[in-house]
Amino acid sequence: MKLKPVLAASAIALIAASVPAQEKSAADGIAEYRKMLEDGNPAELFEAKGEALWKRKRGPKNASMEACDLGKGPGVVKGAFVELPRWFADTNKVQDLESRLLTCMERLQGLDPKTVTDERFGRGEQANMEGLVAWISAESRGMKMNLPTSHPEEKRLYELGKRAFYFRGGTHDFSCASCHGEDGKRIRLQDLPNLTHNPGNGVGFAAWPAYRVSSGELWSMQRRLNDCFRQQRFPFPGYASEVTIALASFMGINAKGAESIAPSIKR
C-alpha cells in the first residue's frame, strides 16, 4: 500500500520535467505584458462612465439607478458583484449583474430592457451597460467570490449551468469543457482557465468584466459567454437569458474564495 504514493509522486516529477521550458516563458511573457498594461487599464474610463450613469437621472421616470438593489440592499454597490448571480425575492429569479441591472432600469427608470437586449454589443444602451458593469465590479475589486447557494433556485441554476458546461454539440462537437475542463491548456498563447474547479485568484470568472486591448472594448460576462458560444459554433444565447446566468452561477460558485480583479485587462 505504501508504494502507491511514491509511484504517483515520481510520475508527477517525470511529467513536470518533460514540460518544455519554452512554454513557461511564453506564459510568463504574457503575464509581464498584462502587468505593464495594468498601470493604464482603460477599463478605468468605463468605470468613470458607469459611475456617472448610476447617478444620472434618466428614462421616462427620470430616476437614477441609486435605489437599485443588487442583492445587498437598495443602493449598496460595494461587495455586491462578488455575490452575483444570486436569487432575488422581488423577481423570484436568479439574476446575474446584467439581468439585475435590466430589472432596475425597467422598474426604476422605466426604460425598456429591449433597448439593451436587442442592441449590438458596444453600441447605444449596450455601451451604457458596459460602463455600469465596469464600475460595479470595480467597487468589489480585491474581494473574494462568495456566491450564495442556499436557495433552491440557486442550486437549480448551478446544476443547469453544469449541464450546459458539459453539453457537447454544434459542428465541432464542442462543449465548454472541451477547452476549460483541464489544467494547463492554451489557445494560441493564452492560458485557458480550468473552470470545473476554482481556477484561482483573478483568473477565469474572477477576471471578468475585462478590457480587451485587441478590440478596445470592455467585455461583460454576458459578452464573454456570447463569444464562447460563437467559438463553439453554437447559436448565440439571448442576452441575459437563463443559460447564460446558469453558466455564470456554475463558474461563480466554483470560484468561491477567488479574489476578483475585475475589471481586468486582456490582450
Partner: protein, 103 residues
C-alpha cells in the same frame, strides 16, 4: 461632449509622474465598415499639459496612436497640491480638458 480623462499625478522626490488615460476612438481612416465604406479618420491631433497654468508639454499626435491612449510623463519641480491640466483637440475640432491635483 467627449468622455472625461483619468489623470493621476504622484510625487516622487523632486518630480511628479503624471499618468493620463484618454477616452477616444482614434480612428485611422484606413478601416472600412461592414458595408465596405471607409470609416472617416477621427483622432487626437494636439495634446498639451500645464503645471499650475504653465505649459510643460505640447505634442502633435497622428492616427497611429492607439484607441483610448495612455500618456505618461514626468514634471520636474512639481509638489503635492499643484495642479496639472491636460487638454486634447481632435481632427473634428472637439476638445476636452481635465485637471488633477498632484498627490
Amino acid at each position: 461632449m467627449p468622455d472625461p480623462m483619468r489623470i493621476r499625478a504622484q510625487v516622487t522626490g523632486d518630480k511628479a509622474t503624471v499618468r493620463v488615460l484618454m477616452a477616444h476612438e482614434m480612428e485611422t481612416g484606413q478601416r472600412k465598415d461592414a458595408a465596405g465604406k471607409p470609416i472617416p479618420a477621427w483622432f487626437i491631433q494636439e495634446v498639451s499639459a500645464t503645471h499650475n497654468g504653465k505649459p510643460v508639454l505640447a505634442a502633435q499626435w497622428g492616427p497611429s496612436v492607439s484607441k483610448n491612449p495612455f500618456l505618461q510623463f514626468v514634471v520636474k519641480g512639481a509638489k503635492a497640491g499643484d495642479k496639472i491640466a491636460i487638454s486634447w483637440k481632435d481632427n473634428r475640432g472637439e476638445t476636452r480638458t481635465d485637471e488633477a491635483v498632484v498627490s
